[in-house]
């Protein structure tokens, strides 16, 4: 069993509105997989389908060799963690309480923690470098700190796969890199498969092993970043002018947006 997630002929619609059509791809174990695409292309829905939050109509999604429909909520939660976008923080749990909640799928109904659970939570907290915040309340943290805490919670779940919905949205540059580096480290050191939805094509180019480009609920292209992130594909998908060249940093594509007033110069 080489693939962590396998999707075959997935269709999904909310009532009459078709959101996803003819989706088939697989994600290798211990890889960094990023799903990109314009707004409304069905990225988040796809992620929710994989995580079992929404149920697919047929056995079209397999997680670790078994259809998501055949998992109980709790067993699925032991295999797969999900970090949602805009996690609400209305109630002020402390950082430690929140991270410890990640142990719930491994605990009984009341979630009474043992020494071991505390240890795992402590390790997760130091992995994402939020040690200094353990006793702080969640609503007192900055966006970047909160995101790292939610990541620690997901790690605390000890899953084989982590799904993230735009974890870098609304973060500043240094926090974006920090979160992405953490995800990479998670994959390298703990062998966790990371699946992520992102708006940022440049970050996707830098970090992904493989990419999936969705457009209007269909798969437009999938594969290695340099294969997917070409000038023609991106212009068609996003319907805007841009340049693609090789990044000066490494062996991956760099995407540059072209503002309308510079269009004449680049219209080659």
């Amino acid at each position: 069993m080489r693939s962590a997630i396998q999707i075959k002929d997935l269709h999904f619609s909310y009532k009459d509105l078709t959101v996803l059509k003819n989706i088939s791809f697989s994600i290798k174990k211990e890889s960094f997989y990023i799903i990109i695409g314009p707004n409304g292309s069905g990225k988040t829905t796809l992620l929710k389908l994989i995580s079992g939050i929404i149920n697919p109509e047929h056995d079209s999604i397999h997680v670790l060799g078994k259809s998501v429909l055949n998992y109980s909520r709790k067993t699925l939660a032991r295999k797969l963690a999900f970090v949602q976008q805009n996690q609400p923080v209305d109630f002020s749990f402390t950082v430690f309480e929140l991270v410890l909640m990640g142990r719930s799928p491994h605990m009984g109904m009341l979630g009474v923690e043992k020494e071991k659970d505390i240890d795992i939570a402590t390790q997760a907290i130091s992995f994402t470098a939020v040690d200094h915040l353990v006793d702080r309340k969640l609503d007192q943290l900055s966006g970047g700190e909160q995101q790292r805490v939610f990541l620690a919670r997901a790690i605390c779940q000890e899953p084989e796969i982590i799904l993230l919905d735009e974890p870098t949205a609304s973060l500043d540059l240094s926090h974006q890199i920090r979160i992405m580096d953490l995800m990479r480290k998670l994959m390298d050191e703990k062998g966790i498969t990371v699946v992520m939805v992102s708006h940022d094509v440049n970050l996707a180019a830098m970090y992904a092993d493989e990419l999936l480009l969705l457009s209007k609920g269909r798969m437009m292209k999938k594969g290695k970043p340099d294969k997917v992130l070409t000038f023609q594909t991106l212009e068609k998908a996003y319907d805007c002018k841009l340049l693609v060249d090789e990044s000066p940093v490494g062996n991956f594509p760099r995407i540059t947006l072209v503002p309308h007033r510079f269009l004449k110069d680049t219209n080659q």
């Binding site: 929710k48 995580s51 079992g52 939050i53 909520r73 709790k74 699925l76 939660a77 032991r78 797969l80 963690a81 999900f82 949602q84 996690q87 609400p88 209305d90 109630f91 002020s92 749990f93 402390t94 430690f96 309480e97 929140l98 410890l100 909640m101 990640g102 719930s104 799928p105 109904m109 009341l110 979630g111 009474v112 923690e113 505390i118 402590t122 907290i125 130091s126 040690d131 353990v134 006793d135 779940q157």
Partner: protein, 336 residues
Amino acid sequence: MNINSPFLLKKMFFVCMILMGALVLSVFLGLSMGSSGYEFNAVLKSFLTGDVFHSKTDTIIWHIRFPRVLLSILVGAALSLGGLVFQALLRNPLAEPYILGISGGSAIGAILGILAGFSYFPGIGLFSFVGSMTTLALILILSTGHSILKKDSLILSGVMVNAFCGAITMFLISLTLDSRLHNVMFWLMGDLSNLDIHQVLILAVVLLPCFIVIFVFSHSMNLMMLGKDSAQSMGVNIKFVTLILLGITSLMVSATVSTCGPIGFVGLVIPHLFRLIIGQDNRVLVPACILGGGSYMILCDILSRTLPEHGEIPPGVITAIIGAPLFILLLIKTRR
């Protein structure tokens, strides 16, 4: 690395011990104080010797005050828990059975039952339960969709449902011309008197299993406070848990309302007080609300019995005088 979070069980034990002490003290005060005077010595004597029913004082203490104190504990605990559950499930710190109009709906059912001349159990209780479930469904439909997360829309639906229930209640009262009117009016303001020990015991039999079920789901409530998707991804079957908890809470609220009228704001004051002191963990908050809510209700009832020189202030008035300003304070705080 220094983590100050103590083990759950230790914290639970500690909190329960303190609140148990507070409850015992409240019970003692509740038995000792009343409109006929203060009898600390007599209560202490029967506490210590086990001797009861010797004098007129003993009769007042054990036949009149004791059922009332017991009833206060049950009502206070049930209403506090009701508030706690609604606040967690709807992820809205302002949610409370009374404010959401669920007590009001329950009251309509109960009044219909009283006017139809049914007995307290099961007739009025059943009517009251149907009333509370109907209003709960109405509120959820009104504020459903994306807006269920929005604090204002939920509270607004509650206010409207409440106003509507109030109008229907008034309509029903206007139809009543006989002696039942006084009963209904007094009951509407929250009434802990006029109950014998058997009715209190029936209420206890209904409420105690509800308390246990809510405690069992308290960790699921923790997870659900992080949002629907997160809770689900951590293994919570949210449809099941939501259905059970809302059903159980409506049952508790209608059971208390049909017994002693709609008593408001307890479910707001107690959970907020304890959240402030012991934190967000519902596993500790559930026992704290049961014990603390019980003590709070006894104290409110003592005030209602001893403040006026003649007669009583309805306890519902006392809880509203304490709770309503707090609600306004919280509203201002959450707007910021």
